[in-house]
Symmetry: C2
Subunit: 109 residues, 2 copies
């Protein structure tokens, strides 16, 4: 039986924390759904990882700051972004009014 | 400059053929957008590939038949499906009334 699911299903209406779900994982790759409901990277902190992340915003809205860029990039539905390994970045904000659904492909993880 | 784009942009209104765009490629992985506008796998033919494909339907509608399953699976927006390597499958139909946008992650390609 081939695995399947829906990217927009099983979203809690209010989430205290972000919701992470692995959709696929194999050596060197992980496909993950992330649901945010207003969470952001704490002030003065950066996210940094040893692998490449290709991430798309499917619903909602968010802004990501990449280190060295003049300001955050606002992301709307359909927007995708390649975050190179070891590129420091921050999620400045995510939509407070509903679910922001991300699809992240972690490469070389 | 980090690469970026939008999954819903640059869609031709009428396409004679499916439209393929590589969004990311590295050894062993390719992330691809596919836009279908009514295309299907020709009768009696199967698709078969040597790598795993994780595919999500983002807009539109389609049906995929996996060999050995009793009937095709109808896919709606958000539905994803893991097609194992060498699993024969067919796209039975895609929406004739507009664009069906797929996001495919080819793994081990």
């Amino acid at each position: 039986m081939a695995q399947s699911g829906n990217l927009f299903a099983d979203i809690a209406r209010v989430l205290e924390h972000e919701q992470f779900a692995d959709l696929y994982a194999a050596p060197g790759i992980k496909i993950e759904r992330i649901v945010s409901t207003g969470q952001a990277t704490p002030p003065l902190q950066w996210l940094e990882q040893d692998w490449t992340e290709w991430v798309a915003l499917l619903t909602g809205a968010a802004a990501i700051q990449l280190e060295g860029e003049p300001g955050p990039r606002t992301l709307e539905p359909g927007d995708w972004l390649l975050i190179p390994a070891r590129k420091r970045h921050r999620v400045e904000w995510t939509d407070l009014s509903g679910a922001t659904i991300w699809l992240a492909v972690h490469i070389g993880v």
